[in-house]
């Protein structure tokens, strides 16, 4: 078993906005919010996830791919990596549009990878002889590229959504990707403070898989067992970041195993036994079973996460709230951030502001608002 990995450690700031009525918000808004928390990062990583930004391609999977150095892999000419990837994509998928991701080079972001995006569909018959869904198939394509093609890294793969991230402060990354030109109904942002310098664009957050994106502020003390648990189900943890673990845990529990999202939240930030013991029988039975079966998926240690999943946004803390996390509402918009100031920066007069309790998710669903 490979145990020669070094985990990536980082602290962070995060911010998220969702308009559950579907009204689209400019990327400049989330930029302003996360920029206020400049000091929560150190310029080693900033990133955004945006939902509803590609309405003209809403039925396509949008693959955002970077061609760049990857830790632990040999570096070669990025054009070669791109050619190999595109040849593979043409074989594996129907590529309806391939283009550069528009960027504006600034002095704040002196160098950057080759950045491309591909709007793709799964070809008829490509899943023949397998039990894979289209989503499963796309996941296998993403895993193949990230694992097998050196210097190519898929950093988002959902429909009508995309991730934008890199090495730099988030406000500079936003300017680099010209996020003011995008409008989405849901945005998350991340400002990263790694303790060691990786300088790798793929290591920035958010981490995404299909429609899912995770931004995360925390340090999962249970990373070792979370990683080994996921490996049992075939996940390859290449990035060695907590965010990757969080994303895959949700992928396993919700997409692959079909758990309700609220049950998955209960697995990752489990209620304490002392509280479970006092629950009514049916609740107790459910909680006990979740803890027994998904104990290795419990994310233990400090975290606050924003989990975007295309149909809504969930924010939550670890089970004893060891990282800051604030939520607010105004009209049909819900705000969540590491600091209240980051919310007030873009929403000076929220209707309600609160600090969610430890382990209690704030779940917002499109068309419904905050749900229990």
């Amino acid at each position: 078993m490979d145990h020669w990995w070094e985990k990536d450690i980082s602290g962070c700031g995060l911010s998220g906005i969702i308009n559950w009525d579907g009204k689209r918000i400019s990327g400049s808004v989330i930029r302003k919010s996360v920029a206020l928390m400049h000091d929560r990062g150190n310029g080693q990583g900033g990133g955004f996830a945006a939902y509803g930004i590609y309405p003209e391609h809403k039925d396509h999977y949008a693959l955002h791919i970077m061609f760049t150095e990857e830790p632990g892999k040999p570096t070669r000419d990025f054009e070669d990596a791109m050619k190999e990837t595109e040849a593979y994509l043409d074989k594996a998928l129907a590529v309806d549009l391939a283009e550069d991701i528009p960027v504006k080079v600034t002095e704040k972001i002196p160098s950057h990878p080759l950045l491309r995006r591909y709007f793709v569909k799964v070809k008829q018959g490509s899943r023949k002889g397998t039990a894979m869904t289209e989503d499963d198939y796309i996941v296998s394509v993403v895993m193949h590229i990230n694992d097998r093609i050196d210097n190519a890294f898929v950093f988002s793969s959902g429909k009508n959504m995309g991730a934008f991230k890199g090495v730099g402060f988030p406000e500079d990354i936003a300017d680099f990707f010209m996020l003011e030109n995008y409008e989405g109904h849901t945005w998350t942002a991340h400002n990263r403070f790694p303790t060691n310098t990786q300088g790798w664009w793929g290591g920035a957050h958010p981490f995404t898989l299909l429609d899912w994106s995770i931004v995360h502020n925390g340090e999962i003390s249970s990373y070792g067992i979370n990683k080994r648990y996921l490996e049992m189900f075939g996940y390859k943890l290449a990035l060695l970041t907590d965010t990757e673990v969080v994303t895959y845990v949700f992928d396993l529990l919700v997409r692959r195993q079909g758990l309700p999202i609220s049950a998955a939240c209960m697995a990752v930030a489990a209620p304490f036994w002392k509280d479970i013991d006092r629950m009514e029988e049916a609740d107790r039975e459910a909680c006990e079973a979740i803890r027994m079966v998904y104990g290795p998926a419990l994310l233990n240690g400090p975290f606050a996460i924003l989990f975007g999943h295309g149909k809504g946004l969930i924010g939550m803390n670890d089970r004893i709230k060891l990282r800051p996390f604030v939520a607010a509402t105004k009209g049909k918009t819900v705000y969540m951030a590491s600091e209240e100031s980051a919310i007030r920066e873009i929403c000076p007069d929220p209707k309600e502001v609160w600090a969610p309790r430890a382990g209690q998710p704030v779940a917002v669903e499109m068309g419904k608002g905050i749900v229990d």
């Binding site: 070792g224 080994r228 648990y229 309700p260 036994w273 039975e285 459910a286 027994m292 079966v293």
Partner: protein, 499 residues
Amino acid sequence: MNRTMPPEFRVKIDQEKCRKCKRCLMSCSFGVYSFADRVIPDSNKCVACNRCVVMCPEDAITITESPNVYRDHPNWPLSIRKNVWKQAETGGVLLTGMGNDQPYPIIFDHLVVDACQVTNPSIDPLREPMELRTFLGRKPDKLEMEMIGGKPRLKEKLPPNIKLEIPIIFAPMSFGAISLNAHKALAMAAKESGTVYGTGEGGLHEELYDYGPWTIVQCASGRFGVHSEYLNAGVAVEIKIGQGAKPGIGGHLPGEKIGAEISRTRMIPVGTDALSPAPHHDIYSIEDLRQLIYAIKEATGYKPVSVKIACVHNVAAIATGIVRAGADIVYLDGFKGGTGAAPTQIRDHVGIPIELALAAVDDRLRQEGIRNQASIVAAGGIRSSADAVKAIALGADACAIGTAALLALGCSLCQKCYTGNCAWGICTQKPELTRRLDPEWGAMRLNNLLRAWGHEIKEFLGALGVNSVESLRGSRERLRGVGLDAQTLDILGVKPAGR
């Protein structure tokens, strides 16, 4: 004692201090003392159990290593010379008690545990909840749940598991190997501490059926005391294939120990030898094991079945087979595990350490994607809460303690269990000796031990920044090796300190 055998210890009586109360004469079960105007010790008989020292009100007894020396020879230490002398005298197989006493490296002592600094906070177990609750048994690959009234609900119930409030259980030790009072102490302590004890292979005394919810009953090769009521008496049934102290070796409880109580419990005539065959004679292969597992499940309404094996070379493949055969718990007994009696050469030279076996089994079950189908109990050399923490980090669901539990009951590790003369009333059936062990006193000490270890494990977890034991379980990233070679580290799946 034959003449060529030098005494191992020297017993000295301080005759000025001695008040001639003769308590030493009453205490010594090995016949060291006689009295003729004053206490006269026969050092040849002393096993250094220290019962007399503890009982002497005047602190008048001193036991030391024998000062007699023989010419040193690195290839022939005195212990080996003595073995040859004994066998030349008797022509017999050397017997011993307790676990392997040879100076093999103790891997636990070369593993160190992580702690949080700055990037993630440590947690104070005195101020925050810290959870040790553990469930032993099969877990499904996934839960089938549905939303009812806005709440997640189970579609089907989980298979039964054993609920433990601390990931430490008492290792199976038979009534026969140890006394009924020792069994009572273990049962009472298991109940009080929310854990379980194992009956071992000697059946379950009728007085202990009330402790069923804290009992794992055993079905070993001799099938002593196995009947329907017995199989259903506990929370789980354990099939004992092997024991760490004597892998591949059967058992022999001599007829002189088979008194009325043991005779009734084991369902054998008084005074007959209780011979446990080396293998189960209905298990000559893995598919035979599967049949017994399912026969027991049918007989018990599908209670968890544990299969206990000694850690041997191919332990990972064997454990995989056991899980695929339907076992809900795999109990791994390392080569430092204790015994009431074993051939010395077997005890000291057969089997592998629990640390390596545990790591290999946990890895293999994960590679095969079946780790959730069975819990792993690690045993055979767990000496402290630190050992338990390291074993859990290597992948154990729980640890079993036998020797440590006996130490709590007063045992001083004299290793003369096989003589039936245990001066502490633990490993003997002589009524004048067994009555020395008060079950309530013993239970209190066992509870104290578990409480102390529980507190210590919580301190480890807090330092590690996690508040539940499942976040440590299998998390080898929280261990580092010091002074271990690359191959050993590779098998353990642990990085060297500094990486």
